[in-house]
Symmetry: C2
Subunit: 386 residues, 2 copies
């Protein structure tokens, strides 16, 4: 195991450092008043259930509400028995590693991909294979080439991990045609797909896409999402949509990990879904994040020296920036923090082979507009001095 | 992995089956009104902190309150930096397995011991060695013999796991002299001790004991406890007291598992500790559980046929009963549920080698007084018919 660079950054947030490091929502987006009302209602109406142990696979009423929610929201057809509740999506990633990966097994991901997924899987010693992306997301031709090569070598490919919408860290969204192509390739080579979808709630452009899971006709997609970005990250609530056999495997794994996800917050979130708190809150949050993205793009345009480029994210929470090749962003980070009082996550950890040394991930949802402008100015000074 | 027998039982609880299976508190012990008041206060006073991500090792204010609490309550001297927050004690057990056990490493436990600890560790393929108990708890002479033998074999002993107070499943409490002896042996052979302490809050007899951690002068005890039995199990909150180096290892492991324990309930429990909700609530709960224990002991005395024996627990939540050797309690359970509508946990899973086939664990905290009397009557009929 290596230290999580993202989490290490958390401790700097209390100082005068402007952090683009974490992946935290703007706390002004939390539906505090609704949560207060709902919590009082839950404790008045069914306190004994809400404060007791609960089934490992999740509170049944929440599983029912989520089966409805993923249909309404994303066109995913699921029964309550297909819904499994986790301690945030991170726990789903951990369980997937635990269930599927034996040392040497191949896991295919976009490159770059979500740093904490790679970290949790590395414990199980997979062979990680990264597929490059373009503006339409993962390049499926490259995936097919890799799969052919790996199969010829006799490698055991366990699954393909993708964040198709507003990807972390790039902000890129896989086009609908690309999604269909990905599923065709998965079918042809009998591949399992792990679809991680925390960000589709925050698409800033009129892009028409559906989750892979909604297109999945041969039951080869495991779908993950989370309440962290649309309700409250402090609840640590995620969900998996998968077939019943997989749900029973998840169940066995989770029993050993922590018996059940916090019952209390499951009931609160369930009531939140019933009262449409999430869907009603989304337009306001989406608009705020769009403005923050635009503010960061404008600041980058204004301040960055030549040789620095960045993605224009279609949604989500992050911009992926590339600096001139002579700069190692791990080294840059030390100077950026100690001298310029600004932080980001270096690119290394997002690549399967630590190769993205002159890149960085910038979060635009947590900092204020003032911090975005001032922080990008400071960062540009750090880059100019490097 | 094998299915958790305890958790499987949960699903029968909604039927007409009387369950002595789980390890659930009586819901009437939950301080619901205090929790409602505190929750409203937390959401009014610091909603943004309580609903946001939080540090992996725990909310700093809760770590401070717990450092005070373990001193006041149990005489354990700890700094906030020694306190690590987990998703219930189960997560602490999982992380201990993950950090310490390589395949073939020896883990020593009481025999019988907590079924879910064995289940979470088996994933890491330890060699489990069980030490018998008498009325004073683990027989430390037997431990020393085993350690000598194992060391002579060149085995790597990773730790000794003990629930010294009101043990699960036996209800037995290790005497103070035995505790000192255990620590002497640990010192002599340089052993690490994992002390699991969920039940010392519910001692029904005037036994004077202190946690091993309070006697630990050479920093060889990792102490675990939980809010599940003294506040609300649905919160899924546990804590570890250990040295700072171990806390940093826990931190790395937990980042991959779920990033952080539910922030919201950490703040609520922290306020509960500040307002002495736990300490004020304990006498009432202890008295209720003592009465329930006595009710189950009386029912066993009344109904059980000759050849059945049971422990008289000094505290905690469980009685351990032994039936005649020709009865396999896994087989008995099927009949007990389907024909007599009563459930328990068969002994097999509590032993390191599945050898305790004619034993069972009975929970007396969750069922009502009426269910205790009627359930034991039904169980005695099942045993007589076996």
């Amino acid at each position: 195991m290596t230290a999580s660079e993202i989490r290490e950054l958390l401790k700097w947030l209390t100082t005068d450092v402007i952090s683009f490091g974490g992946g935290m929502p703007d706390p002004s987006t939390f539906p505090v008043e609704d949560i207060a009302k709902i919590t009082a209602y839950v404790l008045e109406t069914y306190p004994h259930a809400a404060l007791q142990y609960s089934p490992t696979d999740g509170v049944p009423e929440l599983r029912r509400e989520l089966a409805k929610f993923v249909d309404t929201y994303a066109g995913i057809k699921a029964k309550p028995e297909n819904v499994f509740i986790t301690v945030g999506s991170q726990e789903a990633l951990e369980i997937i590693g635990r269930l599927f990966i034996d040392p040497g097994d191949v896991v295919i991901t976009e490159n770059p991909t979500y740093i904490a997924a790679l970290q949790s899987w590395r414990v199980y010693q997979p062979r990680l294979v990264g597929i490059p992306m373009d503006s339409q997301g993962m390049i499926v031709e490259k995936l097919e080439e890799a799969v052919k090569r790996l199969k010829a070598e006799g490698a055991r490919i366990k699954y393909v991990y993708t964040i198709p919408t507003a990807q972390n860290p790039s902000g890129l969204t896989m086009s609908q045609d690309r999604r269909k192509h990905l599923l065709e390739v998965a079918e042809r080579y009998d591949l399992l797909i792990v679809e991680d979808d925390p960000y589709s709630y925050f698409l800033f452009e009129p892009i028409q896409v559906t989750p892979l899971k909604a297109l999945d006709r041969s039951d080869r997609v495991i779908y993950l999402s989370t309440a962290s970005k649309i309700f409250a990250p402090g609840f640590r609530l995620g969900w998996v949509i998968a077939n019943e056999e997989l749900v029973s495997w998840f169940n066995l794994a989770k029993q050993a990990l922590n018996i059940n996800t916090t019952t209390f917050v499951q009931y609160i979130f369930m009531e939140g879904l019933r009262r449409n708190v999430v869907l009603n809150n989304l337009p306001r949050v989406r608009e705020l994040y769009r403005k923050k993205r635009d503010a960061m793009l404008a600041a980058l345009e204004t301040h960055m020296p030549p040789g620095v480029s960045w993605t224009k994210p279609s949604g989500g929470m992050f911009i992926w920036a590339t600096v001139p090749p002579h700069i190692d962003t791990r080294e840059l980070l030390k100077v950026a923090i100690t001298k310029y009082r600004v932080a980001f996550v270096p690119g290394h950890g997002f690549s399967v082979d630590q190769s993205l040394r002159n890149a960085m991930r910038l979060n635009f949802t947590y900092p204020t507009f003032e911090q975005i402008e001032e922080g990008i100015r400071r960062l540009s000074m750090a880059i100019k001095g490097a």
